[in-house]
């Protein structure tokens, strides 16, 4: 009997290796050579959003769970990092003009006289690095477990995540003595004694960021090509069938949601490091929805598309708002509509439909889910 080709299940197909190579070259070689320090730092900031977009590919594209609260995880990761940096910047020496030296300045302004207990672990860098990933992931686990075990999905889930984002924003703003309030945690200086504000530090952070992003792409790729990836697709399609094939559907959804949260958290931490502050404006609804559109523009089923989509939308945002600030919202709104109506598979879809077939020596697109199903993704 002839063995069918599906039996080889390589980690990545040649085309995917090539895509990864191109992306890595773009991020790590081309952009650093082509852009000045300022623009490169900007790209670095955009790339932190790509982590969120990447998570959404797994969670939304593959698993059909649309979360409109990814900013929560981005923000939590960023806040964990910012708390560490703030404590370092608030040494007794730096803050001796305060009534209580050694605590962050905003606490002093709010008559907080001792460091709150939940800030204490952030004196330690290893604990901070663990918390950056663990806190948002745990939070995602709690929300996910509560929702998915009770079969909440689709639009309900989207709206509830939105509410969670709104609540967290109000909480952070309201508890300004502990969180820095609406101003956020600002004026961050050093990471374990290393000044993150210098130009050389910024370029090093850029490369660290790029490296982490590629690592996350590889992790996502591993998940996607594993049986788990196919189960996610299967679930989006026929949830009951998966359930009656003996899988606990909720666990798989929780996993996808937690993975997306962990990616977003890493992005948030890198954001804090590169931009130098964290504020509640990333936790809210608007940034969360914007991050969804990065994924949609890139193609919700394409890991590489997510990165390109993020870069493209942000580049457009920056250049548009420099030249025609009034038109930017029209443009962004139209982009949302166009991507949904005309290009549901985003850039990746356009590439597969129009570019790839014309490349020399390319066979038909693979059988993997390259096209968005006609039906609703997991209702």
């Amino acid at each position: 009997m002839k063995l069918p080709t599906v039996n080889d299940n390589p980690f990545m197909k040649p085309m995917e290796w090539l895509s990864l190579l191109v992306l890595a070259a773009l991020i790590l070689v081309v952009l650093p050579l082509a852009l000045d320090g300022f623009r490169l730092n900007l790209v670095g900031k955009y790339l932190t959003y790509a982590f969120v977009a990447l998570g959404l590919v797994i969670c939304w594209g593959y698993c059909g769970i649309l979360s409109l609260g990814q900013g929560v995880f981005f923000g939590l990761g960023g806040y964990c990092m910012a708390m560490y940096l703030k404590l370092e910047a608030s040494s007794v020496e730096n803050t001796k003009i305060q009534s209580t030296p050694g605590i962050p300045d905003f606490m002093d302004w709010n008559q907080v006289t001792a460091l709150p207990w939940f800030w204490k672990p952030f004196h330690s860098l290893p604990l901070t690095l663990i918390a950056v990933v663990a806190v948002p992931t745990l939070f995602a686990f709690v929300v996910g477990a509560a929702m998915f075990k009770r079969r909440v999905g689709g639009t309900y889930f989207a709206i509830i995540t939105q509410a969670v984002a709104a609540i967290l924003t109000i909480l952070i703003i309201g508890q300004q003595g502990y969180t820095g309030g609406i101003n956020g945690i600002t004026d961050l200086r050093t990471l374990h004694g290393w000044d993150i504000r210098t130009d050389s530090a910024k370029s090093i952070l850029y490369f660290v960021n790029g490296g982490l992003l590629i690592a996350c792409i590889l992790i996502a790729q591993y998940v996607k090509r594993s049986k788990l990836g196919r189960i996610l697709v299967a679930m989006r399609d026929k949830e009951d069938r998966v359930r009656f094939s003996g899988y606990s559907v909720a666990s798989f959804k929780i996993f996808a949601f937690c993975l997306a949260a962990a990616f977003a958290a890493v992005g948030g931490a890198m954001f804090t490091l590169q931009v130098g502050f964290m504020s509640p404006s990333f936790v809210g609804i608007v940034p969360s929805i914007e991050m969804v559109i990065y994924t949609a523009v890139g193609g919700r089923l394409s890991l590489f598309g997510a990165v390109y989509g993020t870069l493209l939308v942000n580049w457009a945002k920056t250049s548009f708002s420099e030249s025609f600030p009034e038109l930017w919202l029209f443009g962004l709104g139209a982009l949302f509509i166009a991507v949904v109506l005309a290009f549901p598979n985003g850039l990746a879809g356009i590439w597969r439909q129009h570019v790839e077939p014309r490349l020399p020596g390319r066979a038909k697109p693979p059988a993997a889910p390259t096209v968005l199903p006609h039906g609703a993704p997991a209702e």
Binding site: W60, L66, L68, A146, M147, R150, R151, V152, G154, T155, Y156, A158, I159, I160, Q162, A163, V164, A166, I167, I170, L171, G174, I285, I289, V292, I293, A296, E326, L329, F330, L332, G333, A334, L335, F336, I337, V339, V340, L341, P344, H374, G375, A376, P377, E379
Partner: protein, 308 residues
């Protein structure tokens, strides 16, 4: 906290606080009704709901300007005209949007969410381009501001009474439409079995369009009514949107009664908490409570248990 006050004072405060709760309840029902119809009957999440409301508010603003300039004698009554026009304007825009956008996406509910979000951005910028970035002040007829002096110490705001009145009327009208009119039967038929409804000769496209239009039109009326109590600016719609969604989801999307019950429980909780705690804390506690209950009972408070 009540030690220093006389019994009479306390009594009046409780009465007025009761009214505050009822006003909040009416506001919530008005906000949520249009959305509930669209979400409940069509399964579509309209993220631009707030912008449809603000369209109604801007229509009221234009009307007020027009009456002041051309028909000053009729100014005291202009508000009723404004509400009618607000309904028509938002409804017409809603039908246009349904035709251009929503009808292509019925099978992808999550995508309607994104598309309507895009629409809301466009509408916000359009308002900003047309009316300016600043909030506009809507001048109201004098009789609508001020309060009714029920007793020496009990004062009931007229605009609150007005909002309550509008809410009751609209709710009744919607209930009548849904449960007694031909359109209502068609809507329910389409909701239960689209294919079958089409097969028995119901023009499902038209039913969808009307439903969406009516939902948006009610949002327009709500917007007109809210000029009495809130602000009218390009982004004012965003202030209402999360609350509105939560009410609808909390109520269990499919039922009108659920929406009303959910608006009632949320508004009473919030209004009571606001009285005893600080405003910000009250809001957080209310939202947390809603989310906690949704975690335990995600299908909403008031849905029927149905066979799948």
């Amino acid at each position: 906290m009540f030690g220093d006050y006389s019994l009479g004072d306390l009594g009046s405060i409780f009465v007025m606080q009761g009214f505050a709760g009822l006003i909040l309840f009416s506001v919530y029902v008005l906000m949520a009704l249009g959305l509930a119809i669209i979400f409940g009957q069509m399964g579509v999440i309209n993220m631009a709901h707030g912008e449809f409301m603000i369209l109604g508010a801007y229509v009221t603003y234009l009307c007020s300007g027009f009456f002041q300039a051309h028909l000053p004698g009729l100014f005291p009554a202009y508000f009723f005209v404004a509400m009618g026009l607000a309904f028509l304007a938002s409804g017409a825009l809603g039908m246009l949007v349904e035709w251009a956008l929503i009808r292509h996406l019925y099978k992808r509910p999550l995508d309607t969410l994104l598309a309507t979000w895009g629409l809301s951005l466009i509408l916000q910028q359009a308002y900003r381009s047309i009316f300016g970035a600043r909030e506009v002040g809507v001048e109201l007829p004098a009789w609508m501001m001020g309060s009714v002096q029920a007793t020496d110490t009990i004062e009931i705001p007229i605009n609150g009474l007005f909002v309550m009145g509008v809410t009751v009327l609209i709710t009744l009208a919607v209930a009548l439409l849904l449960f007694a009119s031909r359109w209502g039967k068609q809507v329910r038929a389409v909701m239960q079995n689209r294919v079958m409804a089409g097969a028995v000769g119901i023009d499902t496209d038209r039913v969808d369009r009307t439903t969406f239009g009516i939902g948006c039109g009610i949002a327009g009326i709500a917007g007109a009514a809210f000029t009495m109590i809130g602000s009218t600016g390009p982004t004012s719609g965003q202030l209402y949107i999360v609350d509105t969604f939560l009410i609808v989801v909390f109520g269990g999307a499919a039922s009108l009664l659920g929406t009303i019950a959910s608006a009632f429980s949320i508004s009473q909780t919030q209004s009571t908490l606001e009285f005893f705690l600080s405003g910000s804390t009250a809001k957080v506690l209310t939202l947390l409570g809603v989310v906690a209950i949704l975690m335990l009972r995600p299908q909403g408070l008031f849905t029927l248990k149905v066979r799948r």
